[in-house]
């Protein structure tokens, strides 16, 4: 049952990602990206990390994607022309590199998997993981300084964005 769910949502995530790439209309790409965010969020849920799943939906699907849609709206983009078709940009060398890349990633990921992980990741093993109190304890004790630095980063990004985009 669990494997079935993983495969289903994994394939869904892959498919939506492919649609993002192959859509001619930028708005469609963005919408497929929202779908992709939701499927990835479900995968997070299956890994028992509800907090991140919700963040994924709120931050990614909610905020960032809305942001991008606004940008697309402001840019008034036409449909992609011939030069922007995936099939016109396929080079055998690139595909080969990508394939090798993919294989390499899998080998590396599996090879580096922690020993505990290989033993099994059933509901028992994952019990208590990803709960909000665990994350909160971490953020406000050990991870306080990085967390604050992240907020500084966000502030800087916002100021930079405003400065860049404002009319002279």
């Amino acid at each position: 049952m669990e494997l079935f769910a993983i495969l289903l949502f994994g394939i869904a995530a892959t498919t939506t990602a492919l649609f993002v790439i192959f859509s001619k209309n930028t708005v469609h790409s963005a919408l497929w990206m929202v779908a992709n965010c939701f499927t990835v969020a479900v995968l997070f849920l299956l890994l028992n990390s509800q907090f991140i799943a919700i963040l994924q939906i709120i931050v990614y699907a909610g905020a960032i994607m809305m942001f991008i849609l606004y940008a697309i709206m402001m840019l008034n983009l036409k449909k992609a022309g011939d030069e922007d078709q995936v099939k016109n940009n396929l080079a055998p060398g690139r595909l080969l590199i990508l394939g090798l890349f993919f294989i390499g990633l899998i080998i590396l990921g599996i090879g580096f998997s922690p020993q505990a992980l290989k033993g099994g990741m059933g509901a028992d093993a994952l019990a208590g993981f990803g709960e909000i109190n665990l994350v909160a304890n971490y953020i406000f004790s050990k991870g306080l300084i990085p967390f604050e630095l992240v907020s500084v980063l966000l502030t800087a990004a916002v100021v930079g964005a405003v400065y860049l985009a404002k009319k002279d």
Binding site: I52, I64, I139
Partner: protein, 99 residues
């Protein structure tokens, strides 16, 4: 138990994202592809940290999301600026940064 499955999907998403970055010319779509790659990386993070029962991986994912947000803000501002100056966001048109 199914970590290899998760990791395979993660690698697949990452490869698809990279593929999009390399093939699409529309800056916004390239940007979306980068977001796909970030999502794939997030997935791998969660898989690896789930076994450790610790919050580091989760915190890392939060950081990645924050970076993605910052990146979106600055990147989109740059696109708007580029569009305003040149009337296009085809990345092949912006090749001035060379010898």
């Amino acid at each position: 138990m199914y970590q290899n499955v998760y990791l395979t999907f993660s690698a697949l998403l990452f490869a698809i994202g990279a593929f999009g970055v390399l093939t699409r010319k529309n800056a916004i779509v390239v940007f979306l592809c980068i977001e796909i790659m970030l999502g794939a990386a997030n997935l791998a993070f969660i898989v690896f940290t789930a076994a450790n029962q610790s919050a580091e991986g989760i915190f890392m994912v939060m950081c990645v999301m924050a970076v993605a947000g910052a990146e979106a803000a600055v990147g989109l501002a740059i696109f708007v600026l580029l569009y305003r100056k040149t009337g296009s966001i085809n990345i092949d048109k912006f090749n001035l940064l060379k010898w």
